[in-house]
Symmetry: C3
Subunit: 359 residues, 3 copies
C-alpha cells in the first residue's frame, strides 16, 4: 500500500483488546493478493442489490478487495460520495444494519435521510410502497430498505427508479450481510478469492440455522455457492425436516455442491472449519428463536482452527465465552460490514472514479 | 439556461417511465418566462412561513421560478446553505414531508437535526412548546415543524426567535404544500405566473375535499385566491353542508371569486380543468377519510386535458389506473415539492446571495 | 477577541427579547478573564466522560472558557470535527439533550448517526449493550449515550473502545448537564473560575430536588464540590429524610463543605444566591415528580440578585412568571449547553489543534 495514504483512523479500535485472541484478519493480505478490478465493479453501477444470486464470483471478490482497501486507508478526504444522498428506509427497525450503512455513507462524505422506524411514517396512513418509491425518485440517489414483508422490494420497484439496496425483506434475503460474511472469510483465507488450485484444502462449512426461513442464513448460503469449488461440504444442523425450502434446494442442486442436513450437532461440529450461526429470525411481527437447543460456547467440541460467523444480534445461542477465543470471527465480521457496504455504495452510485490510485 | 450549469442529476429519475403518459411539465418554460426576481424573494428573509395568505402573488410566482431554476441545475456545488442547521421537528410523524424537507436541505449543503416523532421527545415529559422554542434558539437556524395541534405554531413562537416553517398544524394550514401544488400548476401553464391577459382562458378548478377541516386543501384553496383572475370558478365537491368554515368563507368572499358547493361529482367533473383531491385528514389523533364516495379512476368522466393534483399519501380515492395517464400531475407535484422548498429555505435563511448568476 | 473572527451568527437569537429582563451573561468576561488553557484540555483526549467527579477544577474552568470562545465566534468555517462521526445513542429518548449534542456536532462540521429511541433498535431483539459497544468501534469516533439503566455505561464499556460520553444513565449521573450548569454560573460570575480570594463573597447555594435519585441534581452537586472554596453552604430543600444517598454523602463529607437538609422552603429561599431546581426524575420507566410541593414563581421570596438554574424540561414547578425576571438564568443555561458540549467534544476527540489562535 502506497505511503501516500493516511491509515484509517478506525483501525486501532478494531484490534481485539489485550487478553483477547479473537481472530482479526488483516485486510492487507486480501488487498495485496490482487488489487480491486474496477472494471468488474463498474458493472454494478446503477444496479439494484436485492439478493445474493445476482452477484458473480468475481464481483464478490472485487467488492471484498475494494473493502480491504477502504478498511486500511482513510478515504474520507477524497469525498467520493460528494453530493449524493442515501435514504436509509427502515420500515423494520434495526440498530446494527442501519447505523452501519449510515457510517459507511458518512465515511464517504455522502448524506443521509434517515427513516428509523416504519411506525412513524406515512405507512401508518396506509400509503403504498409504490407511491413511496415514486417519491424517493426526487429525494435521493439511492434507497437502502429493510421491511417486514418479503415482497416489499418488488412493490417499491414498481415506481422507484434510483437504485435500491435490500437490507432485509421479510423472510427473503439480506445480500449485504452475505457480502459482510464473505468479506470476513476472504480476509481470513485470501486464497478463497481466487479460483481453486489443486492442493488447496477445501472447507467443511456448517450452518446452524434455517436457510429457508432466515434471510441472513439464506443469503449467506446462496452466496457461498459462488465458492463451491472451495467447499468440501455444507452441513446444515437443524431440527427441521426441510430447512431449505424449495427455492434454496433447487439452487443447491444446480450448484453441484455436496450438502447434508443433520440434527446431531455434537457429531458434526468437530469436523467443521467454518460455522455460520443464526438462531433469531424475524417472523411475522416478532422475533423467534429457532433451533434453540443448539448453542455454542467455549466448551463446544470445535476444531482448533474453526471460525464462527454470526450476523448478530445474538441472544444466548452464541456464548460470550467464545468472544476472546480465536474461534471469534464474528466481531471482525461485524466491523467489516461497514467497509464492504462502502465498496458497494461506491460501485452502485457510480463513484469508483473518485477513488485514488491504489498504488 | 447558461451552459455553465451542470444539469440536476435527479432529472432522469423524474421522467415518467416508458409506457407512461403522466404529465411532467419541464421547468424550463416557467424559468424562461422571466427569471426569478430576487428582490421580491428577499422580502422573505427571516420570516416565518405559517399560512398561505401571508404570501403575495408575486412572492409565489418568484418562488416557483426560483424552484424551476433549482430543478434544472445541480445546485449543491455552490453550497448555498453552508453552515446552516435546519431542525425538522415532526411531533406529528410524516415520511413524505419530512424527507422532502431533508432532501431539500441536503441538496443545498445545509445540515439537519431530525425529530421524526413526537412520542420520542421531551414532549412525553409534558414539556411545553414554549420551552422547546426557547431551546431551539441556540440549536439551529430554522425550524420546520409539524404538529397535531392547530395552535402549536402560536405556542412555539412565544419564545422561538429563529424562523419557523409550518409543515402542518392540526386542522390549520400546510403552506409549503400549497406552494408545491402551485409550482406544479405554474410549470404546467406558465402564463398563470403573469397577470391575466385578455384572451387567456380562465380555469375551471375543482376541489374534492373539505377545505375547512383539511389543512392541505385549505392552504391550496387560499393560495389559489392569489390567482383569482385566472380562475373562472372554484367548484367544491363535498357532501358536507359547509365544507369551508367561517374563516375560509370570508376569504373566498373577499377575493371576489366565483365558487359553488355541490355533491354531484358526475355532473361537475367533466367541466373541470384542474381537480385538487384530498380525502384523508388528520383529525384528533388518527386519520379519517372524508367524502370517501368520491373516487377518481381512469373511467371517471374527466375532460381530456384535465389535470389532477393530490398532496399524497393516498388510499384508494385516487386510483393507480390514472398514474400512467396525462391526468397525472400529482407525481410531478410530489417531485417538485423538493425544489420549491429549496427556494423557500434559501429565501427565509437569507442565502439568495449564494446563488450563481442565472444567465 | 481578535477582529479576525466572525461573530457567532446564533448570538442575536440568544438575547432575551424586548421586555424580558432574563439574565444573559456575556461570554466575553469569562473568556477574557484568562484564555482557555489547551494543555489542560488535552488531558481529556480519548477519555470517557461518565461522571462529575472525574473532572478537576481546572478542567471544568478551561472547558467553560473554551465554551465562552465558541459561543462568541463562528467556529464552523474551521471545520474542527472534519471527518469525525458521533453517534447519539438515546436508548432513553430525549429532545433537549440529543438535539443539543447534534447541534454541537453540526456547528463543528462533524457527522452524526442518530438513534433517537431505544424501542426502535436491536435492543428490542434483546441484544446486549456489550455487543452494541463492539459494533460501535467500527461505526463512529465517539458515542453519546443515554439509557434508563444505571449500569449501562459499564456494560457498553466492556467492549466499546471509542470514547463514551454519558448523557444520563438511569439514576446515575449526567455530567455534561453539570458542565452546562457551571458554564452558566461561570459566565454569571467569572471570579468563580479562579481560586477563591480573600474578600470574595461566598455563595449560598440551594438545591430543590433529590441528589440521590435525580441524576442531573447529583451531577450538579458533585461538580459544585470542585468550587467548595467559593461556597458558603449548600442547602438541600427536600421532604426526604436522606435526599443524598450514601455515595453522595461520602463525597460531601470528603469535600469539607458545609451543607444542610431542610424541608422549609420559605425559610431557606430568601438566603440563597443560586437555586438549582429539578423536580422531575426518570424512575423505572416513567417520569415522576418529587417534592412537588416546592414550586417557584414570581411571588417566591427570592433574594433580589438570586439566580435560578433548572436543567429543563419543567412541568409547573418552575413557573413561567419567572422567565422575564433577572432570576432566570435557566434559559442561558439551556443555550450554553451547546457550547460547552462543543468544547468537550473537541477535547475528547483530540481536535483542539484545529482551533484558530485565540488572540
Amino acid at each position: 500500500m502506497s505511503d501516500a495514504f493516511t491509515p484509517n483512523p478506525v483501525t486501532p479500535y478494531l484490534k481485539p483488546p489485550r487478553g483477547s485472541e479473537a481472530t482479526r484478519p488483516e485486510p492487507r493480505s486480501l488487498f495485496e493478493s490482487s488489487p480491486p478490478d474496477l472494471k468488474v465493479l463498474a458493472e454494478l453501477s446503477g444496479q439494484n442489490v436485492l439478493y445474493s444470486r445476482q452477484f458473480s464470483f468475481q464481483q464478490v471478490a472485487e467488492l471484498c478487495k475494494l473493502a480491504a482497501f477502504l478498511e486500511q486507508v482513510e478515504i474520507w478526504p477524497y469525498h467520493p460520495l460528494d453530493g449524493k444522498i442515501v435514504t436509509t428506509a427502515f420500515f423494520e427497525a434495526s440498530t446494527r444494519t442501519r447505523t452501519s450503512f449510515e457510517s459507511a455513507v458518512h465515511r464517504l462524505a455522502g448524506k443521509i435521510i434517515s427513516i428509523p422506524d416504519g411506525s412513524i411514517t406515512g405507512a401508518k396512513k396506509g400509503e403504498s410502497l409504490q407511491d413511496i418509491g415514486e417519491m424517493f425518485n426526487a429525494y435521493c440517489d439511492c434507497v437502502v430498505m429493510r421491511h417486514t414483508e418479503t415482497d416489499a422490494p418488488k412493490r417499491i420497484l414498481q415506481n422507484l427508479r434510483v437504485p435500491l439496496i435490500n437490507a432485509g425483506n421479510g423472510s427473503g434475503e439480506h445480500p449485504t450481510q452475505a457480502l459482510a460474511d464473505w468479506y470476513a472469510l476472504l480476509k481470513w483465507k485470501p486464497r478463497l478469492a481466487a479460483p481453486f488450485e489443486t492442493g488447496d484444502r477445501r472447507l467443511q462449512m456448517g450452518i446452524l440455522g434455517t436457510p429457508g426461513s432466515m434471510r441472513a442464513v439464506k443469503s449467506f448460503l446462496l452466496m457461498s455457492l459462488l465458492f463451491a469449488d472451495h467447499i468440501e461440504k455444507v452441513t446444515v444442523i437443524s431440527e427441521m425436516a426441510d430447512p431449505f425450502g424449495k427455492d434454496v434446494t433447487e439452487s443447491l442442486n444446480r450448484a453441484d455442491i455436496e450438502y447434508e442436513v443433520t440434527n446431531d450437532i455434537r457429531e458434526s461440529l468437530p469436523k467443521l472449519d467454518v460455522i455460520y450461526m443464526n438462531s433469531i429470525a424475524f417472523l411475522g411481527d416478532s422475533y423467534k428463536a429457532l433451533d434453540a437447543r443448539y448453542k455454542l460456547d467455549a466448551e463446544s467440541p470445535l476444531k482448533k482452527d474453526a471460525v464462527i460467523l454470526h450476523p448478530l444480534a445474538r441472544l444466548d445461542e452464541l456464548d460470550t465465552s467464545l468472544d476472546k477465543t480465536p474461534h471469534n470471527l464474528y466481531f471482525s465480521q461485524a466491523h467489516g460490514a461497514v467497509f464492504v457496504r462502502q465498496a458497494l455504495l461506491l460501485a452502485v452510485l457510480g463513484r469508483l472514479d473518485r477513488l485514488p490510485e491504489f498504488s
